[in-house]
Symmetry: C2
DNA sequence: CTACATGCAAACCGTTTGCACCCTA
DNA sequence: TAGGGTGCAAACGGTTTGCATGTAG
């Protein structure tokens, strides 16, 4: 398994907690907070502490299994599995609901920018804000 | 003066502190933190507290004189004057230096999205990350 | 059996808030 | 002179960390 192998390669251990956290991340269609993951695991009767969730997320982000996001108006960081692919969100400023934007409007521009600026570009963060049909 | 008038219209007072904070924001070419503003004012021998800086920034953001930004890897929020115009930044992941991107690659897409989704779109946040010529 | 992983509680740190006093309009 | 503004210190809340113990390899 890719996940297990990647952990080993970095001197990390493949513990039940790590697998569970990855599973929770993949079970959600939208980004979730460390707290969300913690509560979800509690419901599933998993004995875990919030700090383990944070420590695990740090590692999953470093290994590039997970992406860390932050949104205006959201008080905590949110996380999602990289396996969801490259995505951006349209966020309702009132109800906070997030809608996936499948097309990335930056991709080409980013390549142009790399040619024009001498930077080596690694990526970008984009979120679009507005009011959803129900809230506007 | 536009600034003074806008404050009054919202039942706010035009104090020396508020003017100073606006001036500091306009004197920087890149976004700055509340702490940066506080320290800059201290250097200028202004007697002010950090909480006043935060409270003022909140109000300036609400009145749309100031934009609040957050960047990956930056531990605190950054602020810039709206008068700088609509901009995005190319951020070096190593030295943290920010380079202004004058062209907005989202504008047209945002209009398309508004037509396609039934959302009323208010704006967007974009930052591009990479390594600058000196750091890469 | 050794190094990494974890739980717990405390520390951290950017930001917010309560309150008494100050100052603008 | 009334109501917003400010300084100070304490509170807040998400996140991190120290330490003793547990467990994967």
């Amino acid at each position: 398994m890719e996940f297990e192998k990647e952990l080993r390669k970095n001197g990390l251990k493949n513990t039940p907690h790590r697998t569970r956290i990855m599973e929770v991340l993949e079970s959600y269609e939208v980004p979730v907070s460390a707290q969300d993951i913690y509560e979800r695991l509690k419901e599933d009767k998993v004995r875990i502490s919030l700090s383990t969730v944070y420590r695990t997320l740090d590692k999953l982000v470093a290994l590039d299994f997970v992406r860390k996001l932050s949104f205006t108006g959201e008080d905590s960081a949110l996380f999602e599995s990289i396996r969801k692919g490259h995505r951006h969100y349209l966020v309702c400023l009132r109800c906070r609901k997030k809608t996936v934007i499948d097309k990335c409007p930056i991709k080409e521009y980013q390549e142009t920018l790399e040619r024009e600026t001498d930077f080596s570009i690694e990526g970008h963060k984009l979120a679009i804000y507005g009011y959803c049909p129900a809230c506007k």
